[in-house]
């Protein structure tokens, strides 16, 4: 069986599955149970300054969106950082780390944006025996208004500055957690690197309103008739998170900077995808809030089986495997031609592909009176929509035309050569062949 041991910016853990800083890592009771369940590491719920802790709302703090069968697809929250006193958290962290020396224990921190605050608190927290720090520059609600969280994360100069203070204050690894509430994720990532960060982790939650109560005309979760934007997470944010991870992984400035992938990780497969896109490990929050700690068992068994199947012996081998294949649109091979093919034995004649293709723009699927659906190769642009809407997995597939085959739609013979937009005759700024 593949070895899942992971080393992330010098921090060792028995597997690459960490719990993200959030309610599941809020206290000793939870973290002990998480470790018992098999989690490789935890990022403790974000610690704040000494003194009176922040307070949370006393009404609902979550909102959600659902898929079929009321599966939770996206969660929205208006929770703040830990609402328990610093000393209590530190004492608990110390006890837990002592009992679970092989697990990663990371302290997430968010204090006001001044040098003294950061430099005072890190050494104190380090006394717990924690393995590293995660700087929470991501929280999009409540803390940002106080000049913390995403208020810092949205300004690259602040990220660089705070990271540098932290590096000066401790020898332990510094992970900078990035907010996705920004137009170009590379700017904060590069700033973190310049500041000396050992790694970045992303994404934190996305500004969101998850639903509106149509009786009281107020966003949910509703507190005494008012609502506010929260932070969105769960399966729905995974595609956004993966893109940001991939951008950082393939950007020459940040390539090689360890990335902890976060956002919608629910199964081993999600984790494997993040790893392939360049993450060194993953962090999980919503999936555990939905299903409990036990899901890590499936993640462990699934990832090991997958690595075995692929003949890989370590997580590190998988990490970054897909990065070379992430490119810009303009470099995609326009001479690659595929056609949708419907497997008539699998087809249940629901007609969804027909409705999709007919009412989208291609009208490439025919329907007979006895409900036989077929792709017309002379119309199919291979958009993949039918594959996406068909309820039967594997029923519609994409067949690749071989060089020399006729593309019935264009009437052209499929070329064996690679040809992209930069050289395409329709491109006014096409560069002549080199």
């Amino acid at each position: 069986m593949a070895d899942l041991t992971s080393e992330f910016c010098g921090i060792k853990s028995p597997n690459p599955f960490w719990l993200a800083s959030a309610p599941p890592t809020d206290k000793e009771y939870n973290v002990r149970r998480a470790f018992e369940a098999g989690w490789g590491g935890v990022v403790w719920k974000t610690l704040g300054e000494e003194g009176l802790p922040v307070v949370n709302v006393n009404g609902p703090r979550y909102g959600a969106i659902y898929g079929a069968d009321r599966r939770l697809l996206g969660l929205n929250n208006i929770e703040l950082i830990t609402d328990r006193p610093l000393e209590v958290n530190l004492a608990e962290m110390t006890r837990v780390k002592k009992d679970y020396p092989d697990r990663a224990l990371i302290a997430s921190v968010m204090v006001p944006c001044d040098e003294k605050s950061w430099k005072d608190i890190l050494p104190r927290i380090a006394e717990t025996g924690c393995d590293g720090f995660e700087l929470n520059f991501g929280c999009p609600h409540g803390m940002a208004e106080r000049g913390m969280g995403s208020a810092v994360g949205q300004v690259p100069e602040y990220i660089e500055m705070v990271t540098r203070w932290c590096k000066e204050a401790t020898g332990l690894p510094i992970i900078v957690k990035l907010t996705p509430n920004i137009s170009n994720i590379l700017l904060p990532a590069e700033a973190a690197k310049r500041g000396g960060a050992d790694a970045v982790s992303l994404i934190n939650t996305i500004n969101s309103i998850s639903s509106v109560n149509l009786d009281s005309f107020c966003p949910e979760p509703m507190i005494d008739g008012k609502g506010t934007h929260g932070g969105y997470c769960g399966p729905a944010v995974k595609p956004i998170a993966m893109n940001m991870v991939a951008e950082i992984a393939r950007n020459p400035e940040t390539h090689g900077l360890p990335i902890s992938g976060i956002g919608g990780v629910t199964t081993w497969r999600d984790a494997a995808e993040f790893l392939a896109l360049g993450a060194g490990n993953v962090q999980v929050c919503t999936a555990v809030m939905t299903y409990g700690f036990k899901i890590v068992e499936e993640m462990i068994s699934g990832l090991s089986e997958y690595l075995d199947e692929k003949g890989m012996t370590s997580v590190a081998e998988l990490s970054g495997k897909a990065v070379p294949n992430v490119t810009d649109w303009q470099y995609l091979n326009l001479n690659h031609v595929t056609k949708a093919v419907i497997d008539q034995d699998e087809c249940i004649s629901c007609g969804r592909c027909y409705a999709a293709c007919e009412d989208t723009s291609h009208q490439a699927i025919s329907m007979t009176s006895d409900r036989v659906f077929e792709v017309m190769d002379d119309e199919c642009v291979a958009c993949n929509l039918c594959v996406n809407v068909c309820p039967i997995e594997g029923c519609i597939t994409m067949k690749t035309l071989e060089p020399g085959d006729l593309d019935e739609r264009t009437g052209k013979i499929v070329s064996k050569d690679y040809g992209n937009w930069t050289k395409h005759p329709n491109n006014p700024s096409a560069t002549a062949a080199e």
């Binding site: 079929a68 009321r70 629901c350 969804r352 329907m367």
Partner: protein, 446 residues
């Protein structure tokens, strides 16, 4: 000693009083909100949905299910009623396994259709329980129409005509409206007096004058209706039953299944209904199954359905056959009735086994005797009381695709008319369609 399942002869109160309500409860209980959500989520919202094509009233099934999913069951009910004003009853009695659910793509995909019938009931019950009628009549047209027979076909026609602004007079031979909804449908399909509640709800459209207890044929003639009304719609069902030719049919305890069921449906205290210890039901259709199951539920010790042909030829669907056997009914295939035995009261019945040879059914000479202190005959109904002058075709009033008979301004639909299966939903479809044709003709569009 009180009676029990083993008490001989035709006796009542075979069960403790408390058992009846439980035994005759809904076959398919109403879905609660959560169950409805889970069931509705399974619908794929098919394009040009096959289920909709299979529904004789062409209810827009994917649309109404989507309306349930999005939390608007009243809108879902409206989608159903637009096509089928008796959607509430149909949700309970349709043999969905041979209609919409049979062709549901999820039946094809995983052998488990979307539960269309139960979802339909969820939607229609939600709206009907609000005690409001969702339709308004159009401005009056001044046209008058006689509808004869207030079963599903007549009710559907009357409602549609009244909605279009016509003045309808609804005649029925019986004092109670509803036809077989009230007198025929198995009690575990239509519980809690649903048939009457539905009639009352439907009549709330207004514009329908009810003339109950008036049979066509007595004082009421087609001639007089034709002269008094602008149009006539006949929906008199099949009021007669086919006779079984066998010795001993006059013995006590031998009865037509339809009468047995009607008595049961009208009973307010099932413990007063006599039922045999050993009941034999002759026939292989839906009526035979209903009679057999209900005899068993009443406390008969043994109930045997005897059908003269093989399992595959049986009128009742496999689903219904399974229902019967699950309730403890045994089904004997390939057995044709020979004689009822007994003196005064029946005691047993003899059958001869059959085989289908070259497409014809032949006795094999092998006989079997089955104990029977009650024999229920369910070998089909037939048309009686069709007015003179109408063309009869295959034992039914001949009509064209619009429900027009061969007589001027006379339409017919439902079981009494040619074409279509003898099902509640088909009767509704034919009543509705005839109404639309009557409307078109009377308003000069047809």
């Amino acid at each position: 000693m009180p009676n029990n399942e083993r008490t001989s002869g035709l006796v009542s109160a075979r069960l403790p009083q408390s058992d009846y309500a439980e035994r005759f409860t809904d076959l398919h209980p109403q879905l609660d909100d959560h169950e409805a959500q889970v069931a509705a989520d399974r619908c794929y919202f098919c394009h040009d949905a096959p289920c909709m094509t299979a529904c004789p009233t062409s209810i827009d099934i994917p649309l109404f299910i989507r309306q349930i999913v999005t939390g608007t069951p009243a809108a879902a009910a409206k989608t159903i009623f637009d096509q089928n004003i008796l959607g509430g009853m149909c949700a309970r009695v349709c043999p969905t396994e041979t209609l919409c659910e049979e062709v549901c793509v999820r039946e094809i995909a995983e052998g488990k259709p979307v539960e269309i019938g139960r979802l339909q009931r969820f939607a229609t019950d939600t709206l009907m329980s609000k005690q409001v009628h969702p339709y308004k009549r159009a401005a009056t047209t001044g046209k008058t129409i006689a509808v004869v027979g207030a079963g599903p076909s007549g009710l559907a026609a009357a409602h549609r005509l009244a909605m279009l602004g016509h003045d309808v007079t609804l005649f029925d031979a019986r004092e109670k409206l509803g036809g077989l909804n009230e007198f025929g449908i198995a009690s575990y399909k239509s519980t809690e007096d649903f048939a009457q509640k539905e009639v009352d709800w439907l009549l709330a459209i207004g514009g329908i004058t009810v003339e109950a207890g008036k049979a066509l044929g007595d004082t009421l003639t087609l001639d007089s209706l034709q002269s008094d009304f602008d149009a006539v719609f006949l929906s008199i069902g099949l009021a007669g039953v086919n006779a079984l030719r066998a010795d001993g049919m006059d013995l006590d305890g031998v009865e037509d299944a339809v009468e047995f069921i009607a008595r049961l449906r009208q009973s307010t205290d099932l413990s007063t209904l006599p039922v045999g210890r050993n009941v034999v039901v002759i026939g292989g259709g839906m009526t035979a199954v209903d009679a057999a199951v209900q005899a068993k539920l009443l406390g008969a010790q043994t109930v045997t359905m005897a059908y003269r042909r093989g399992k595959d030829r049986m009128g009742a669907s496999v689903y219904e056959q399974d229902l019967a056997t699950s309730k403890g009914v045994s089904i004997v295939y390939n057995a044709q009735p020979v004689a009822v035995l007994g003196g005064g009261a029946c005691r047993a019945m003899t059958f001869e086994y059959t085989a289908e040879i070259d497409g014809t059914l032949q006795g094999t000479g092998e006989m079997v005797e089955i104990a029977a202190d009650q024999v229920l005959v369910a070998i089909g109904q037939k048309l009686v009381g069709a007015p003179q002058g109408l063309t009869i075709e295959g034992g039914k009033i001949a009509v064209d695709v619009f429900g027009k008979t061969t007589m001027q301004n006379v339409w017919a639909g439902g079981d009494c008319a040619s074409g279509g299966d003898d099902l509640t939903v088909t009767a509704v479809a034919e009543g509705r369609d005839a109404a639309m044709d009557i409307h078109a003709v009377l308003m000069g569009e047809g």
